[in-house]
């Protein structure tokens, strides 16, 4: 049988209450007594049964997910995963709430975070926007003892406890490698469509892509980046125009959302034009169809379900001050071809 608090009490020669005070770092124990108890804990190799502790405490973990109000398929998928987690909440002792905020708006996001401080939850997962106000608001929440995880979009710094998302610089490099390899020695130009250069993930992906593709195939002409605002119609217009203009377009990399527009434009390209190698991000119903039809050649993906489940595990663990399985919380850069679609 595993050692219990009773065993600690016995070997340390104290009562259960004292053991409990030591375990929960509460005041009211003489230093000498505390030391005796800690020695006993180490000696018998006690590990606390969190399930029993939570039962006794009647504890639940109030968690809040702060996500951008947005229409793109990836964010919809993310929200669906949060809803799924809400459905599981009773068994996982969590109480999860979603807060919508306008997208790409630092001050409003910061205000939303500050509003949480009125009734601070155990943890907050937030799709971050890189803005000083957000930084500050996260710092304040942390001060209030709230565990913080950035989700999908990071905001590096000591304020947040963890980032549940992918390394976007590496993702861009991966896209660059695939583009370079798929093009073989072919020359020509390569177009890049981003959402907005104001968000860190997009900047990182672009940087990684340019660097790697330049290394691999210096002869290629990487065109100036087009900003489609993650909007299918804008992306469609930009890509259609580009296809018409650039006769020798060899490849196109879409590092943001709005890929519905990209796929539509690729499908409607003039018959004369050879299909460029096309690489996009995030597996959605649209990009999946594009991959299957051959209009897209590869999709880089981050698993939204994994990100949400990971954020919850990390927030709970952090609230309890216990470690996580690092490998389990690493979010992969998934590469999907037609052949390994889930």
């Amino acid at each position: 049988m595993r050692p219990t608090v009773h065993d600690i009490a016995e070997t340390a020669g104290v009562s259960l209450a004292t053991v409990d005070r030591v375990l929960n770092r509460r005041p009211g124990v003489k230093a000498a007594t505390r030391e005796r108890v800690e020695a006993a804990i180490r000696k018998i190799g006690f590990v606390r049964d969190m399930a029993a502790a939570n039962l006794a405490k009647g504890r639940t973990y109030p968690l809040v997910f702060v996500v951008p109000r947005g229409d793109n398929s990836f964010m919809e998928g993310l929200k669906a995963e949060i809803e799924a987690a809400i459905a599981r909440a009773p068994q996982e002792r969590t109480e999860i709430a979603i807060r919508d905020v306008p997208r790409f708006d630092g001050p409003l996001l910061a205000a939303a975070l500050d509003r949480l401080a009125a009734d601070p939850p155990a943890g907050v997962a937030v799709v971050a926007v890189d803005h000083p106000a957000v930084h500050a608001a996260i710092g304040r929440l942390k001060e209030a003892g709230v565990a913080i995880v950035t989700l999908v979009s990071d905001l590096p710094g000591p304020a947040r406890d963890h980032f549940a998302g992918v390394d976007n610089l590496a993702a861009g490099r991966t896209a660059g490698s695939l583009m370079g390899r798929f093009l073989g020695g072919r020359g020509g130009s390569v177009a890049v469509v981003a959402g907005s250069m104001l968000v860190g993930d997009h900047r990182d992906r672009l940087e990684g892509f340019r660097a790697r593709l330049g290394e691999l195939n210096p002869a290629l002409d990487i065109l100036p980046v087009m900003e489609g605002r993650d909007d299918p119609d804008q992306v469609h217009a930009l890509v259609a125009d580009c296809l018409a203009r650039e006769a020798g377009l060899a490849g196109i990399y879409s590092l943001g959302a709005g890929n519905r527009g990209l796929i539509r434009a690729l499908g409607q390209r003039p018959d004369a034009a050879a299909k460029p190698v096309a690489i996009a991000h995030e597996l959605t119903p649209h990009t999946r169809a594009g991959l299957q039809s051959g209009l897209l050649d590869a999709i880089l993906n981050q698993d939204a379900g994994h990100e949400v489940r990971s954020a919850i595990r990390v927030l709970k663990a952090h609230a309890d001050g216990i470690p996580v399985i690092a490998a389990q919380e690493r979010i992969r850069i998934d590469i999907f071809l037609k052949d390994n679609l889930p």
Copy 2:
């Protein structure tokens, strides 16, 4: 507050013991009473607190992992992940044991499984070998009420409850796609190294690879498969020989283990020979180094840690008769390039 067994008892007008009998499908309850209790459960929306139940039962889940005695890096990694799970066992209420069996030997594996029946654990995870005796042994374990998960290597059929591993046909197709795309229009021959055509995973990978590469690039000459027995030295000899013999070798696909030998042979190839596009399976210290040095072009991987954790979750859930999060238990076919290595 969530409804509890007391609430059920009250609304159904019965005692706790009766509620418990109904919840655990134990005999000794009149059909009418049972129906009343079930109605009450539905009415108040009761969901049982597994943590509390397990605490009361003092339940632990005895699990056994049956894995091939083997020296290759992948299996070593798998065992390391099982050891890690053993270290976590106390907090997860599991008691995990490892059983080593000779590799590629159906009858001995079956015998090992039969030995488990003497003291049947709650669940068994087994790296399966496709053999009638194994099928039968798994069936017997299942009869004894043991939950069964096949690990890494499947053995399809109704006997096992779940497969924690990748779709190897799709993995082979993915390798074929990458090979075809990386080769561009280039012609020449492509070599394939397998471990043994006796194991299902290797057969599936080969079949998928051949089919997909044939579709994509019918001009390529896919050479007869070489069997390296997953042994680095044998693989080295085979590949070195092939490199010397085949002047126009454009690509090489290693679908089994022993990749240390492959990498060594590639590194020692005659200066005249262009490096063939090389794709291998499983991320190990050796294949990682090969990818980083550029001798390998891509690695397909199955995450052993994920497989082990997933197997444990599924076995526990199955032992309790509760559902799992399907998406969480799908093992991905990871594609690693130099750029997205973890």
